[in-house]
């Protein structure tokens, strides 16, 4: 089963994304900021990262930049943010994001991007 790490400092958002992804057949773990996300990725790499931008300690941009420096398999990443300016999207792609979703995320939009990057869930 493909594993997805949801990184967001808002507990409700993590739970919301988890509920959508698990209902679609993906395995989900959570991290409360970029530092915890990196720690979890280094322990057991994920197939995809769903990353919030604004987080304390290490924000989403910093997380992706650090992740891309590691020897880990370069799994795809979707960045999620309330900020919708073109410059925000550009920064996300430069940092290593594959897709950028604007909050509040609609379940269909999230699953479309995840399936494009991972394919259908595998048992």
């Amino acid at each position: 089963m493909q594993r997805i790490l949801v990184i967001d400092d808002a507990a409700t958002v993590r739970l919301y994304h988890r509920s959508i992804l698990e209902a679609a057949g993906y395995a989900v773990d959570e991290a409360i900021n970029g530092v915890e996300g990196l720690e979890k990725a280094l322990r057991a790499p994920f197939d995809l990262y769903l990353v919030d931008v604004n987080m304390p300690k290490l924000d989403g941009y910093g997380f992706l930049q650090e992740l891309r420096k590691t020897e880990l398999p370069q799994a795809p990443a979707i960045m999620v943010s309330t900020e919708a300016a073109r410059s925000d999207l550009e920064r996300a792609y430069v940092a290593g994001a594959n897709f950028y979703l604007i909050k509040p995320v609609k379940p269909d939009a999230l699953l479309t991007d995840v399936r494009l990057l991972l394919g259908a869930p595998r048992p």
Binding site: A11, T12, P56, P104
Partner: protein
């Protein structure tokens, strides 16, 4: 002719903070190339309430993590109107890290932040309003729940409401129930708001 030893650049010693320096010296040291010197200057400027402006200016340029940490600690310790105004300015920054650091410092200054909270929650920029709700997360102040209820009752921007509901899940009391129900009705086509409000109502029911 006497032999004159040429001056040798000395590395900054970690105990250099023991040397007596006045306010002017410390502000000058914020620009030194050595991060240890800048860190000690930032730390020692906490003793000078008039240092807020210099510390804020330095924070916007400083990149070394340990110096930034010292700058933020000193700003928290001083915590005057100048520091708070500077931190509000940081909420509008394009630097994500600076914005998040400002939020974290403002959480530690409830007495100074409370009088400006209503203005922050009414700011024309929705991102600033979201950061204002983020500040409420651990702002120890009796009005936190009241402010959050006001947000979900009146705020037009879905993401500001979403941030407030996330926090109400943690700190809300039964006083928030009716406002949460009305929020669901205001955003019937937003799955996240429906999910978050239902979760908050469920948790309030459990309490």
């Amino acid at each position: 002719m006497a032999f004159v030893k040429p001056p040798v650049a000395q590395p900054h010693r970690d105990d250099q903070c023991l040397a007596p320096r006045d306010f002017t010296d410390l502000v000058a040291e914020l620009s030194y190339p050595n991060p240890a010197a800048r860190r000690w200057a930032a730390r020692d400027l906490a003793a000078y309430p008039e240092a807020s402006l210099a510390l804020m200016a330095c924070l916007k340029e400083e990149s070394h993590p340990s110096v930034r940490e010292a700058l933020l600690t000193s700003l928290t310790l001083i915590g005057d109107e100048v520091a708070v105004a500077g931190l509000v300015d940081c909420l509008r920054s394009e630097q994500v890290g600076l914005r998040n650091e400002a939020v974290e410092v403002m959480k530690e200054l409830p007495e100074k932040v409370a009088p400006i909270m209503e203005n922050l929650l009414a700011d024309e920029n929705p991102d600033v309003r979201i950061f204002a709700v983020n500040i409420l997360e651990s702002l120890r102040h009796p009005l936190v729940e009241r402010w959050l209820i006001d947000v979900i009752e009146r705020e037009p921007h879905v993401n500001v409401c979403g941030t407030a509901v996330d926090l109400l899940c943690e700190v809300g009391t039964p006083a928030a129930r009716e406002a949460l129900t009305r929020l669901e009705a205001r955003f019937p086509d937003e799955p996240y708001i429906q999910f978050a409000a239902e979760l908050a109502l469920k948790r309030l029911g459990e309490d």
